[in-house]
């Protein structure tokens, strides 16, 4: 129920924006984003941006995942 993709904001015009994803540029709505900025990433569903994506949090998650990866490797040995 939640088909959505991460897009990078390329330009903003009021509530509307143009964002890029995988080689294409798409028109999106930014009504739900407070003070959107160019080069930010947002998750887009049915043509509207749901919220912004936090790169720092993403890195934290990946770090945690790599830790689980290493830990499980040690346990299995």
């Amino acid at each position: 129920m939640c088909l959505a993709v991460p897009m990078k904001i390329e330009s903003i015009d009021g509530k509307r924006g143009v964002a890029s994803f995988s080689g294409g540029e798409y028109d999106i709505r930014l009504d739900l984003i407070e003070a959107p900025k160019v080069d930010e990433f947002v998750m887009v569903h049915a043509g509207i941006a749901l919220d912004r994506l936090d790169a720092a949090e993403a890195e934290e998650t990946l770090k945690l995942l790599r830790e689980i990866d290493e830990l499980s490797g040690r346990v299995s040995q």
Binding site: M1, L3, V5, S22, G23, G24, E25, Y26, A46
Partner: protein, 333 residues
């Protein structure tokens, strides 16, 4: 001459003759067509001829990468090519909607002319009908083609261990058409892959004469073709997801609207099965040809009475690929 096609152009009278003499013959230039007999007389070089036909009703008629004219020629050439035949002669039947722009018709016939010239084939016979406004979607084209087997090629049953190759990126055609029709996205480098594959096939058969079978995955994509080929082989096919070539733009559209790329139509690609020993040399030969630059070995056949198609993810798990059940629609779920 009038600027619009009218019903009179299809009635077989003076206007039909003028259309043929002033448009088709000069543009499609060959001795056989110029004779304007009811049937085209062909010299037969061998005892076996491959003959195929296809009809084209695409909308829009003109699109990035081609048009209905180019498509109608390539489609029939490719059916011959994947049967291991060198295409020689094409027939071309037009059904034109009353009111169709003359200029547009000429543009499409020019495209047919260019495509056939580049491919080294000739349109040797044809037919034109004009129907009332509203009875056709602008223009319908039917082509039929005759070809001669290359090196006496015959297809052979698929065996366990055979490798599966695809000649390039999948989904380009249908994704490009979808994008244009739905006006989705802006400024995207996405064009139909519409192309005639017989040159590539000649290169392939020179490198690997024992290719089992080839197919061009048009409507229904490689998913449909692989399922069709599995029937009666006592083999299942395992494909690796990460090995299937796909361009970023197509991948993006699929993720955005929920399309499964396995079922997207291609108009300039082929799938083939080859004995494992010849797979690498076949791959190199394909990659040396402009239409096979992104060719890849994507999987193999394994002995299995279930005769299924499996798509393996990079994580080790797999899913089956069934025959498509209809046209894919954009979804939000």
């Amino acid at each position: 001459m009038e600027q619009q096609i009218s019903l009179a152009h299809g009635s077989g009278g003076q206007l039909t003759r003028e259309l043929v003499e002033h448009v088709f013959v000069p543009k499609l230039k060959n001795d056989i067509l110029s004779r304007l007999t009811d049937a085209a007389e062909l010299a037969v070089p061998g005892s076996r001829l491959m003959f195929t036909t296809d009809s084209f009703v695409i909308k829009p008629l003109e699109f990035p990468g081609g048009d209905i004219g180019k498509l109608s020629v390539c489609g029939t050439i490719n059916d011959l090519a994947v049967s291991g035949a060198r295409p020689m002669w094409i027939s071309c039947g037009l059904i034109i909607e009353e009111g169709f722009s003359f200029e547009r018709l000429e543009r499409i016939v020019d495209s047919i002319a260019r495509t056939t010239a580049d491919a080294g084939v000739a349109v040797v016979c044809g037919d034109t009908k004009v129907v009332e406004h509203g009875s056709a979607d602008g223009l319908f084209i039917n082509t039929a083609g005759i070809g001669v087997p290359i090196r006496d090629y015959r297809s052979a049953p698929i065996q366990p261990g055979d490798k599966i190759l695809v000649s390039g990126t999948i989904g380009d055609h249908e994704a490009a058409i979808f994008r244009v029709r739905e006006n989705l996205g802006r400024r995207m480098e996405l064009a139909s892959d519409c192309a005639a594959l017989h040159g590539l096939v000649e290169t392939m058969l020179a490198a690997a004469p024992n290719i089992r079978v080839m197919r061009d995955p048009t409507r229904g994509g490689i998913g449909a073709v692989l399922n069709e080929l599995a029937t009666g082989t006592a083999c299942s096919f395992t494909i690796e997801d990460d090995l299937i070539p796909m361009c970023d733009e197509v991948r993006g559209i699929c993720e955005l609207v929920g399309f499964d790329p396995m079922y997207l139509a291609n108009e300039g690609k082929l799938v083939c099965f080859v004995p494992a020993k010849q797979a690498e040399s076949l791959l190199q030969a394909m990659r040396s040809h402009p239409l096979g630059a992104n060719a890849a070995i994507i999987g193999e056949a394994v002995a299995d009475s279930r005769e299924r198609v499996y798509l393996q993810s990079r994580f080790g798990g797999s899913r089956i690929v069934i025959m498509p059940t209809g046209v894919q629609l954009p979804r939000i779920c």
